[in-house]
């Protein structure tokens, strides 16, 4: 089996920091090589998980919209939600396509939350809490580890 891209990127980051950076003459060059190493480490994490996190998040948002649609008043936003529920956001597994679907769904999520915040009643409050849960989860999915 050939080395996987995350391993290669992390290895390159290590070479830059441990072998090349000490050879550089100016703080500016050293800082830039440090930045390149840091970015490689971020890309390594993102490479491995990007498709999985987009697919998981897209599914989570569609499920959330499905539950929310039952409590939403009829109107333009509810109609858009019903359209979102009908489509499969993960039909094309290219990261760029998954990202585009994710953008579309997150745009919808902003609209839904803005509406839900204005609605009275426990059901609306419960949906809002569910949206906050999903937002917390979205940051966990994107979290970058250092060191």
């Amino acid at each position: 089996m050939r080395p996987q891209p995350p391993q290669v990127m992390m290895g390159m980051a290590g070479v830059l920091m441990l072998k090349l950076a000490p050879e550089l003459q100016t703080p500016f060059a050293q800082q830039n090589i440090g930045s390149v190493a840091g970015i490689l480490s971020m890309l390594a994490q993102e490479y491995d998980r990007a498709a999985a996190r987009f697919a998981e998040e897209n599914d989570a948002m569609v499920a959330l919209f499905r539950r929310a649609s039952r409590a939403m008043p009829t109107g333009a936003i509810r109609s858009k939600m019903l359209q979102e529920i009908a489509a499969n956001p993960n039909a094309d597994l290219h990261v760029s396509k998954l990202q585009a679907e994710n953008d579309r769904l997150r745009r919808m999520l902003v609209e839904v939350q803005a509406l839900v915040e204005t609605l009275p009643g426990e059901e609306a409050a419960a949906i809002n809490e569910e949206i906050w849960d999903e937002l917390r989860e979205s940051t966990r999915r994107r979290h970058i580890m250092f060191g």
Partner: protein
């Protein structure tokens, strides 16, 4: 940066100078809004050799923030000779023919650290409490400064006390609208919260540095010798800088200490004494949530610059992959919605 072009520019502007030479020309790390270069100049004046250290800040093709160099220059000039330490300004040049872009040249304060992580090192253990105290005393001094009649008054708009928050929120929301490539639902929720829970009017309209935090001043174990990076300076609410300096993103030690150097209550106590103003904790919280939105506006601007191919500065990539999400985590916590 072309040393010869700098020599050609400076020599006729230094009265009586001849044979001016630029040496030790080096780009300084950081300076995400403008390219910053240090150098020494040597020349002869009335038969005597002279030498002096300088900084040149030149406009880049794109940056983390959109700012006007005249505004930054005006704030530096306004504080010259006051208790707020700033480097002396030499020349502001708008004509790009000299160095390829607009720039300004200022005196370089030598022998100092500025890195926000160095101040956390053991060698600063003894001096750190004094530096923290001085940092918040200087904030009070910045805000006590009477900007009326200074170069600041003609450089920036003067908001009414009850308009400060609205102006700033509208500006940064506009930057997010303009630069956002993917939706940021947490930031949008924070903006709605800010509008639904407005702060009281500013106690007085003061100078806001705009990026007042550990990392933007020069220090030694004897004190703070220069407050830098005034590119986002404006007039506004005193709470804006206090909240920004205490914002979680700048907790360099990740230990709850503001700026990595001081507990928030201690910072506020020093600030209140130095500024002569009591801190309204509810207003401070509003400005803390706002700081998250402003931070996101800055990071999104940088990420967009890179995506559009207007810059290859690596800090812009770091903002895209790390800071945007970290900032959202921080906003969640400031809204009381953190994990």
């Amino acid at each position: 940066m072309d040393a010869t072009a700098l020599e050609r520019y400076m020599e006729p502007r230094l009265p009586g100078a001849s044979g001016l030479k630029v040496t030790n020309l080096l780009r300084i790390p950081g300076g995400a809004s403008r390219e910053t270069w240090m150098y020494d100049a040597e020349w002869t004046e009335a038969g005597q050799p002279k030498t002096s250290p300088f900084i040149v800040r030149i406009d880049p093709p794109a940056s983390l923030v959109e700012s006007e160099r005249e505004v930054e220059y005006a704030f530096y000039r306004a504080y010259a000779g006051t208790s707020v330490p700033v480097p002396g300004m030499r020349w502001l040049e708008q004509d790009p023919q000299h160095l390829g872009a607009a720039f300004f040249i200022m005196d370089r304060i030598v022998g100092c650290d500025s890195n926000p992580r160095v101040i956390l090192e053991p060698r600063y253990d003894a001096a750190r409490p004094m530096l923290a105290r001085r940092f918040y005393e200087i904030l009070g001094e910045i805000q006590r400064f009477d900007w009326r009649g200074s170069p600041i008054e003609s450089a920036v708009p003067v908001p009414a006390a009850n308009e400060c928050w609205k102006r700033e929120l509208a500006y940064w929301e506009g930057m997010i609208d303009k630069n956002e490539q993917s939706p940021n639902p947490i930031t949008r929720a924070a903006i709605r919260w800010l509008r639904a829970n407005p702060p009281p009017p500013a106690k007085k309209v003061v100078v806001v540095h705009g990026d007042y935090r550990v990392g933007n001043f020069l220090y030694t174990d004897e004190g703070i010798h220069g407050v830098l990076d005034w590119e986002m300076a404006h007039l506004g609410d005193p709470m804006e800088d206090l909240a920004w300096s205490c914002h979680e993103v700048w907790e360099w030690g990740r230990d709850g200490k503001k700026g990595g150097i001081v507990a928030q209550d201690e910072a506020i106590a020093v600030y209140e004494k130095a500024s002569g103003m009591k801190v309204d904790r509810k207003a401070l919280r509003w400005w803390d949530v706002f700081s998250g939105v402003k931070g996101q506006g800055i990071w999104l601007t940088g990420a967009r610059s890179y995506a559009d191919g207007r810059t290859q500065e690596l800090i812009m990539v770091t903002t895209s992959y790390w800071l945007l999400n970290f900032q959202e985590e921080v906003i969640l916590r400031s809204l009381g919605r953190g994990a």
